[in-house]
């Protein structure tokens, strides 16, 4: 197995390169994705190697990016759109929700929109406003869209290629504060044998309580589990990976064993993914639960100024505090 140590960002870059190589219909489009390689360099070097018809610097208009990508998809292309930051996807919201998500349905299956919308999301990088948001619930709530998030370089590399190969329109959420984290990536394993895109996975096996997370919070939960182990508590961590549709079979199985579940995300808790997951666990695992399903999430404020984001974002201590509370029931 030819594994390499790569950052999550580089793993995405190589994944995109593979997708461009494997299918001439794949085009990358977005603001500054060409010469600059994107503000996070995720498309670094791709325009140089594939040309400006495959890696397209677009005018600065998000609705235009997604709307023209719809037309390209109808024409038979597979557009991969980069939204520069989470907080700038909203000008494209109408195109995503009313057009991308519904085209297949409205046409009774005659049109496919095999589009990937890449969004660097979440906080923790000390950014100015509109650069740290977690808009996943808006998209997960929309029928016709699928939503995934990667948490490790290996998953980043595989999942971006799977998303591009899929005929479903997919919102692909990249944990921007983890772009620089390193991990082992197997670059040669065939995509057809990879772990499925729309499947959750146990990231750390445990017995006493189940932590559920995706994207940037998987690392936080793994760190919390390591700390808890020192206190003699053995936490299971599940990386949800797919937010729409959710894949909760592995979660139910876990919660039936542990009896306790804590859902962790950066997005505000009110009407968020955690609420849906808690409801579903309650329906499926009612008699196994030792405590209510708890949520550790961002507060229901606009994303705050950077100097207080550490208090806003769920961290190891808040996660462990919630675990403690599940044991206090």
């Amino acid at each position: 197995m030819a594994t390499e140590t790569l950052t999550l960002g580089k793993a995405l870059n190589i994944g995109l390169r593979k997708a461009l190589e494997n299918d001439p219909k794949v085009v990358i489009m977005g603001e500054d994705v060409g010469k600059l390689g994107g503000v996070f360099r995720i498309t670094d070097g791709l325009q140089k190697d594939f040309g400006d018809q495959r890696v397209i610097d677009t005018p600065l208009a998000e609705s235009g990016i997604i709307g023209t990508a719809v037309g390209l998809a109808i024409r038979g292309y597979r557009p991969v759109c980069e939204i520069q930051f989470d907080g700038f996807v909203y000008p494209a919201y109408d195109q995503i929700v009313s057009q991308v998500a519904k085209m297949h349905y409205r046409s009774r299956g005659k049109l496919n929109i095999p589009m990937v919308i890449r969004i660097p999301f979440g906080g923790g990088i000390g950014a100015v406003e509109h650069h740290s948001e977690s808009p996943e619930a808006y998209f997960a709530h929309t029928a016709g869209l699928k939503v995934v998030s990667c948490a490790s370089p290996q998953d980043a590399y595989v999942m971006i290629q799977q998303a591009i190969a899929s005929d479903d329109p997919i919102v692909f959420l990249e944990p921007k504060r983890r772009y620089w984290e390193k991990g082992q990536v197997d670059l040669d394993a065939p995509l057809s044998e990879a772990y499925p895109l729309h499947a959750s996975r146990v990231a750390r096996a445990g017995t006493d309580a189940t932590l559920l997370a995706y994207g940037p919070m998987v690392r936080t939960c793994l760190d919390a589990a390591t700390a808890a182990a020192e206190d003699g508590r053995n936490l299971e961590v599940i990386d949800l990976r797919t937010l729409s549709p959710l894949d909760l079979g592995v979660v139910y199985e876990s919660v039936r064993r542990t009896g306790r579940a804590v859902v962790v995300h950066e997005a505000p808790s009110n009407v968020g993914l955690g609420a849906e997951i808690a409801a579903r666990i309650t329906e499926e695992c009612f008699y196994s639960l030792e405590s209510p399903v708890l949520r550790v999430a961002g507060f229901d404020t606009p994303y705050p100024a950077a100097r207080v984001e550490e208090e806003y974002l769920p961290d190891l201590d808040r996660v462990l505090d919630a675990v403690d509370r599940t044991f206090g029931w």
Partner: protein, 391 residues
């Protein structure tokens, strides 16, 4: 007239010369058939281009037939709505020439992106006219295959389709399908109200920047529901194009010949790789915005009457009679065909079945979803539990 009516009889036009400049004054517009049915051989538009059509008598009669048929089918749809058979209907009354002229200018390989009012273009593309009635009856969401007929689904979100058209046109160029006589072109339909939308302006930017093979076809029917043109713009709409770096032209949208000539020219430019252009088809919505609307609340009868005098079908008929291209037998035969097709449309609409409830779960995702599978199964169990009971 408040709107600077281009074809106002007050202008005191004399017998049309064989060839001349487009009407001078403001607004300028290209016209090849006057409201009274006088034929103008050719017109040099303000863009310096000479517009003309060279139709055979057969083709002239064909255009007339199209105009009459789409008006009749549209009237039938309005009647069906009045009788409760359609939820709503957006009539094209008054805009037949703009739609038939542009629709017939399209070549087989050209792709069109409509709004919700392009029933005339849909007809020209060879799609069964019952298709949009399924949408407005509420039994489906538009049933034709966009790729088969090169006519996308109707788009109700104002302006959204102009971006789809632009992206599609980018794809045409990327496929190397421009630059020859057999190149492909794309046409995006939208209204005067839509020109205020961000999406339409973004589409203008995009098409200009990427030199896309695209014709922006704006039917300026003077209203966006109740709001008159003045609420959308301070300058004539066709002049917007200049700011985006491509040509814009205004054509008499009630003149099927001029609309055809101008659209053909713009499409050919596009297919030859010369980039986008904007056509403003100056016309009038003779009916209500939709069957849910009451236009007497916001416009006066005399305005409607003035436009009645410029009816697109009456002028074509006057022309055919004057030039002896058609006789009364032809007109009777066309009316009879229209009547038959309307009856047929009505019968088929009444026979349209409601969809099976569980089909609402179909086609949400090309690859399906376990969540939906679960919901469909739950729904079916619930639904079937009523089997035999009179719920």
């Amino acid at each position: 007239m408040a709107k600077g009516d281009p074809g106002a009889p007050a202008r005191g036009r004399r017998a049309a010369p064989r060839s001349r400049k487009a009407t001078t004054g403001d607004p300028e517009l290209v016209q090849l058939l006057t409201p009274s049915g006088e034929r103008i051989e050719s017109v040099t538009g303000p863009d310096g281009i000479e517009y003309r059509v060279d139709f055979t008598d057969e083709e002239y009669r064909g255009l007339y037939r199209d105009l009459v048929l789409v008006r009749k089918l549209d009237a039938e749809a309005t009647a069906l709505q009045r009788q409760g058979e359609l939820g709503i209907w957006a009539s094209l009354l008054g805009q037949e020439a703009a739609q038939v002229g542009s629709g017939r200018a399209l070549r087989t390989q050209d792709m069109a992106f409509p709004t919700y009012r392009e029933h005339g273009v849909l007809y020209c593309r060879g799609i069964d006219p019952i298709m949009p009635l399924g949408l407005f009856r509420g039994v489906d969401q538009g049933g034709w295959d966009p790729n088969e007929f090169k006519f996308n689904m109707y788009t109700i979100v104002i302006g959204a389709q102009t971006l789809h058209a632009t992206g599609y046109a980018m794809g045409v160029a990327m496929d190397g399908k421009t630059g020859t006589d057999d190149g492909e072109a794309v046409i995006a339909y939208f209204g005067d109200g839509a020109t205020s939308q961000g999406d339409v302006n973004e589409a203008f930017v995009w098409a200009g920047v990427f030199n896309s093979p695209l014709v922006f076809f704006c039917q300026n029917n003077q209203y966006a529901i109740s709001e008159p043109l003045e609420r959308q713009t301070r300058i004539p709409l066709y002049r917007r194009a200049a700011g985006f770096g491509f040509p814009g032209i205004r054509v008499d949208g009630n003149d099927v010949l001029a609309t055809y000539a101008v659209t053909r020219h713009a499409l050919d430019n596009a297919r030859h790789g010369q980039g986008p252009s904007l056509i403003e088809a100056y016309t009038y919505r003779m009916g209500a915005h939709t069957t849910s609307d009451d236009p007497t609340r916001y416009r006066i009868a005399s305005e409607v009457e003035a436009w009645q005098a410029k009816d697109p079908i009456a002028r074509m008929k006057a022309f055919l009679e004057r030039e002896k291209i058609a006789d009364s037998g032809f007109f009777t035969e066309v009316d009879e065909q229209a009547r038959r097709e309307a009856v047929d449309l009505r019968e088929r609409v009444l026979a349209m079945p409601n969809p099976e409830p569980s089909t609402m779960f179909d086609h949400v995702y090309p690859n399906g979803s376990p969540l939906l599978d679960e919901q469909r199964a739950q729904f079916s169990r619930y639904f079937d539990s009523f089997e035999g009971s009179a719920h």
